[in-house]
């Protein structure tokens, strides 16, 4: 084994260890929260103004294109949150750090919410554009599977009394579900689907007019800030709940 990757890994892990101390994490969370919350509110106000009012209609979808500004960032976040959740789960499994498990646990319902928004707004767009609410093509089906993976992950946490065993089982499910992420992203390229291929992250560059890309990116920023804000809030609650249960157990023992 060459030393360099391990030295880098050790350096990151020592930096991580400092923030992995729950007390330090809680203090950092308290300092970050007002910033991310106001950034989220500001981006939503500006983003929704551009998305719903100050952007042009599409040449063939007319006003229906505005659904895209809510749908596409939700889809990105659905994938991104899952990737973050799986990374935290891997850290939890390998380094056995409870804060990693709690971060993944705190992120899951937010990711499930984004996936639901993506599915619902997609159906609302599909009806006027395609002529159907839902089809079982590879893209739509794989996103539905992602939604069920989030629900299964959340259910597994509830299925065990011992938080250590629950974290382990849930982390393994989260990691198995990672294979679904490339399937979702590339389903539109690998197979014939009703869903169109990617418009923004393509090798040829965005296929969206700049006047429409701007509201989309503002909304994506707003979604990201929303995720950070709610994640901090939920992580704080998880840390405090874990401490409370440790105290309760300590008092119950004679």
């Amino acid at each position: 084994m060459s030393g360099l990757p391990w030295a880098a890994l050790a350096a990151t892990s020592s930096a991580m260890h400092r923030f992995a101390n729950p007390t330090v994490a809680l203090r950092l969370a308290d300092r970050l929260m007002p910033w991310s919350a106001s950034l989220c509110a500001g981006l939503f106000v500006v983003g929704l103004y551009y998305a719903l009012v100050a952007s042009p209609i599409d040449y063939q979808q007319r006003d229906t294109v505005r659904i895209m500004y809510v749908h596409v960032p939700a889809a990105w976040m659905a994938l991104g949150v899952y990737a973050m959740m799986a990374t935290a789960s891997a850290v939890g499994l390998v380094w056995k750090h409870p804060l990693a498990d709690l971060s993944a646990k705190a992120a899951a319902p937010i990711g499930a919410g984004f996936t639901l928004i993506c599915l619902v707004t997609g159906a609302l767009w599909g009806q006027p554009t395609w002529g159907t609410w839902w089809v079982w093509d590879a893209r739509l089906t794989s996103v539905l599977i992602l939604f069920f993976l989030y629900l299964g992950y959340m259910a597994l946490w509830q299925a065990y009394d011992d938080p250590g065993r629950a974290a382990r089982a849930a982390a393994i499910l989260a990691l198995v579900g990672v294979v679904n992420l490339p399937v979702i992203k590339f389903s539109v390229d690998w197979w014939n689907t009703l869903h169109q291929p990617a418009s923004v992250f393509t090798l040829q560059g965005p296929k969206i007019d700049p006047s429409m890309l701007k509201p989309l990116m503002l909304m994506a920023g707003a979604y990201l800030a929303f995720f950070v804000t709610v994640l901090i809030y939920r992580l704080k609650a998880e840390i405090l709940a874990r401490r409370a249960s440790v105290l309760r157990r300590a008092r119950a023992e004679p």
Binding site: P56, I57, D58, Y59, Q60, Q61, V65, M68, A90, L93, V94, W95, K96, P128, T129, W130, G131, T132, V135, W136, D137, A138, L175, V176, V178, V179, V183, W190, W191, N192, T193, L194, Q196, P197, A198, S199, T202, K207, I208, D209, S211, M212
Partner: protein, 146 residues
């Protein structure tokens, strides 16, 4: 080897084999994962007659004929094309050059009898003025001709 490092290796090995296994499964089920066949697929694949299938492609230019509620047109993938007949209301985006997916059965005489037509939307979004400007310069490419 520390226990942490061993757990890391086990995790990487497990994820790698899971990835390979899923890739093999997806390749094996390739034919079941496509939402529709292209007109060229119909030429090369021998599909059992009377089976409900979906075909997809572009509505061929100057091929649309309407008789009452019945619409006849050809669906092309620029290499091959197939005649389609459909009775019913068409989606708003249906027009010549547009991507469509037709659900139905191959009828007598090689005509595809569709009972559902879905419009496909491409990945391009632009305001009407931009679309008009591109059409004026003659750079307009019908979708799917990539």
């Amino acid at each position: 080897m520390t226990r942490k490092r061993r757990r890391l290796y086990v995790l990487i090995a497990a994820l790698a084999s899971l990835g390979v296994a899923s890739a093999l499964v997806l390749v094996a089920f390739q034919d079941n994962l496509v939402f529709f066949y292209s007109p060229s697929d119909l030429q090369t694949k021998s599909l059992p007659a009377d089976q409900r299938i979906r075909i997809g492609g572009l509505v061929e230019a100057e091929s649309v004929m309407r008789e009452g509620l019945t619409t006849r047109f050809r669906v092309t993938d620029t290499a091959h094309s197939i005649a389609v007949s459909y009775t019913g209301l068409l989606p708003d985006l249906f027009r010549e050059g547009q991507g469509v997916v037709a659900n139905g059965k191959l009828g007598p005489g090689g005509v595809f009898i569709a009972d559902e037509i879905l419009a496909k939307h491409d990945e391009n979004y632009m305001p009407p003025e931009v679309a008009d400007a591109i059409k004026r310069t003659g750079q307009w490419k019908p979708e799917g001709s990539r």
